[in-house]
């Protein structure tokens, strides 16, 4: 039995009166119907044309949903200094005292999402930024999500340290599907950094996360998604950001490793003068498949978006970048740039890059570009002509290529983690070749 059939059987069998199913019941019911009807996407669906989800489908999963097992033997979390730490892990119960402590330290409202259905923000926003019906996986999430937070940063609050949420997907000896969910709101003039991280684990897993972020007028958010994944990990994230007047977003997606990594990021520049910067770096080796799908909607005048995604692919790894910037007719004086650059370190590595602009306004400045290629031989010779050996010259060039992204990270602790991840990756892939 494959994962699609097993998932459908599972959701058909869940009793409607299970405690979790009774939360967000309407969302769950509707999504369940949708999922049963459509199953998982295939490569015939445009949005999944290059993403091979067969390895994910060929696995069998247990479902973390409603499971009471303990949570031992987690992979070591991504270590970040000077942060407010939270975690989300399979079957881990959210501890009420730690949430009160979090509120005391940060000044933010926080709640276990399963108990937050009556929260006003949740009522208004849940499933509006990322719709349950967006695709099969968001529907799967809406049906089965069993853990997550609602975090609200009140107006004018600048959270002193980043909020770091470590997300674990695996349990020893178990191949799990986990569905987690975040809803975050930044009030007017608020400032906050949110870091989501997942650590590398050896076993197979299938995580499926939905994050909705609402940014009110003049607020500023730095958002990081840091994925360290093992060879058998399947991770999907769907992140939606809705931005009001003059709101600012700096988003970073970093992924290294993973059998099927798929990150969908949608940013809606809804209020005048809003601006977003999206940066991404993927490091692939072995049979990793790492896919970033981004959509930036310019809905209002005077908004700015800049996007740079880079990839380094070794062995037989496969990268995908699908970026769409849409400028709506009202969005005059839009400025949008989009770039995707990939270095192939092996002849068997592959990149599908698809940057797209759809412009429906006349007074705009938009550009995009994409390149995929091997290391620059002239640059390599230049470095070697200064006494530096071939291996080191290659290392420097690739490291420099990645630095354009890692240097744009303003948080120094995240920057350190990323730079050492790049160095470690380079040590692995350049030695293997030499």
């Amino acid at each position: 039995m494959n994962a699609v059939q097993k998932t459908i059987d599972f959701i058909q069998e869940i009793s409607a009166d299970s405690p979790i199913m009774s939360t967000f019941a309407d969302h769950r019911k509707a999504s369940r119907r949708l999922l049963i009807r459509h199953g998982f996407p295939t490569h015939k669906d445009e949005a999944w044309r290059f993403t091979n989800i067969q390895p994910l489908i060929n696995q069998e999963y247990d479902f973390s949903f409603g499971n009471e097992a303990g949570s031992e033997h987690m992979p070591a979390p991504v270590v970040l200094e000077n942060v407010h730490h939270l975690s989300l892990h399979p079957h881990g119960k959210i501890d009420q005292t730690s949430l009160s402590e979090f509120t005391r330290l940060t000044g933010c409202f926080i709640q276990d999402i399963l108990g937050a259905e009556q929260n006003e923000q949740v009522k208004t926003l849940f499933s509006t930024i990322i719709r349950d019906s967006e695709n099969s996986f968001t529907a799967l999430n809406a049906t089965l999500f069993d853990r997550g937070y609602v975090i609200v940063v009140p107006d004018n609050i600048h959270v002193d340290k980043p909020i770091h949420i470590q997300i674990d997907h695996t349990l020893e000896d178990r191949t799990l599907n986990t569905n987690s969910r975040l809803l975050m709101v930044l009030g007017k003039n608020a400032q906050c950094t949110l870091i989501l991280s997942s650590s590398k684990a050896e076993g197979s897993s299938f995580s499926n996360m939905v994050t909705e972020i609402q940014l009110e007028d003049n607020c500023r958010m730095d958002y990081y998604l840091l994925q360290f994944s093992g060879q058998h990990a399947h991770h999907m994230t769907h992140t939606g950001v809705f931005m009001k007047k003059n709101a600012r977003l700096a988003a970073h997606h970093f992924s290294t490793g993973g059998r099927t990594i798929r990150n969908d990021l949608t940013v809606n520049l809804f209020g005048q003068g809003a601006g977003c910067s999206l940066r991404g770096l993927i490091l692939g080796k072995n049979t990793d498949q790492i896919d970033n799908h981004t959509l930036i909607n310019h809905l209002s005048p005077n908004c700015v978006s800049t996007e740079v995604f880079k990839g380094i692919l070794a062995d037989r790894s496969h990268g995908i970048f699908n970026g769409l910037v849409t400028v709506f007719p009202e969005a005059q004086l839009t400025s949008a740039t989009q770039k995707n650059h990939t270095l192939l370190l092996s002849r068997d590595a592959m990149m599908n890059s698809n940057p797209q602009l759809q412009i429906n306004a006349d007074n705009v400045k938009c550009s995009h570009g994409s390149s995929t290629g091997e290391l620059d031989e002239d640059a390599e010779f230049y470095i070697r002509s200064r006494g530096i050996n071939e291996e080191m010259a290659k290392f420097m060039l690739i490291q420099g290529f990645a630095r354009e992204i890692t240097n744009s990270v303003s948080n120094s602790s995240v920057k350190d983690v990323l730079q050492s991840a790049v160095d470690q990756y380079l040590n692995e892939v350049t030695k293997a070749k030499g």
Binding site: Y382, S385, R386, G387, I388, A393
Partner: protein, 254 residues
Amino acid sequence: MIIITNLSAKIEGKTILKGINLSVKPGELHVIMGPNGAGKSTLANILSGKPGYEVLEGSVRYQGKNLLSMPPEIRACEGIFMSFQYPIAIPGVSNIYFLKASVNAIRKYRGLPELDAIDFMKMIREKLAEVNLDDSFMKRPVNEGFSGGEKKRNEILQMITIQPILSILDETDSGLDIDALRIVADGINNFRSPDRAFILITHYQRMLEYLEPDYIHILLDGKIVMSGNKRLALELEARGYQWVKDQNRQVAEV
């Protein structure tokens, strides 16, 4: 120091060098002039070890060793430096990181202790002043967004920092305004010493107003067809390469 004997070479099926003979002794400054396509840059590239060239004939002995069998980084460690006609940008790699890696790779090869960041910075400050650049220059990515003059001054900065024995300067004067030209020429002059040698490749004699070359060689169609002292450059400037070609034809006919 370096003896080039009957060197012939081709790239992409095309023979560019057709029997070069040149001998450079310590302390000397040799200038190689010639029109576009004569093989000047090919000669510089082959001496510094750029991949892609095929040596057909001849030899290059450098300090008694077979230069052509050494990979480019070993040539650099042995004391050869090429100032690039078109210095390459290396995005994401800072100038200081690059130059420190270079200095330490060469020091390591020579059995010297590597310099730490503080010692390196102390050393580099003096060198920066010589080419009229400030500290902030070192933080920028190598050659990225540099002006033509900055690129060439950076090459000279690398030269006086790395302290090579034989410097090959490929069109170091091109793309420079008068002020930058003077800075670059001063950099070379201050760096001259009885145990160092230079091969300067140039189109024009304007750089020679600031330098004291020992020999001028004219390269035409892959061969050195004429050699002389500084006066040859002036004569060439006045009469053009056609004059050399005519002279050469007469010699051939005789």
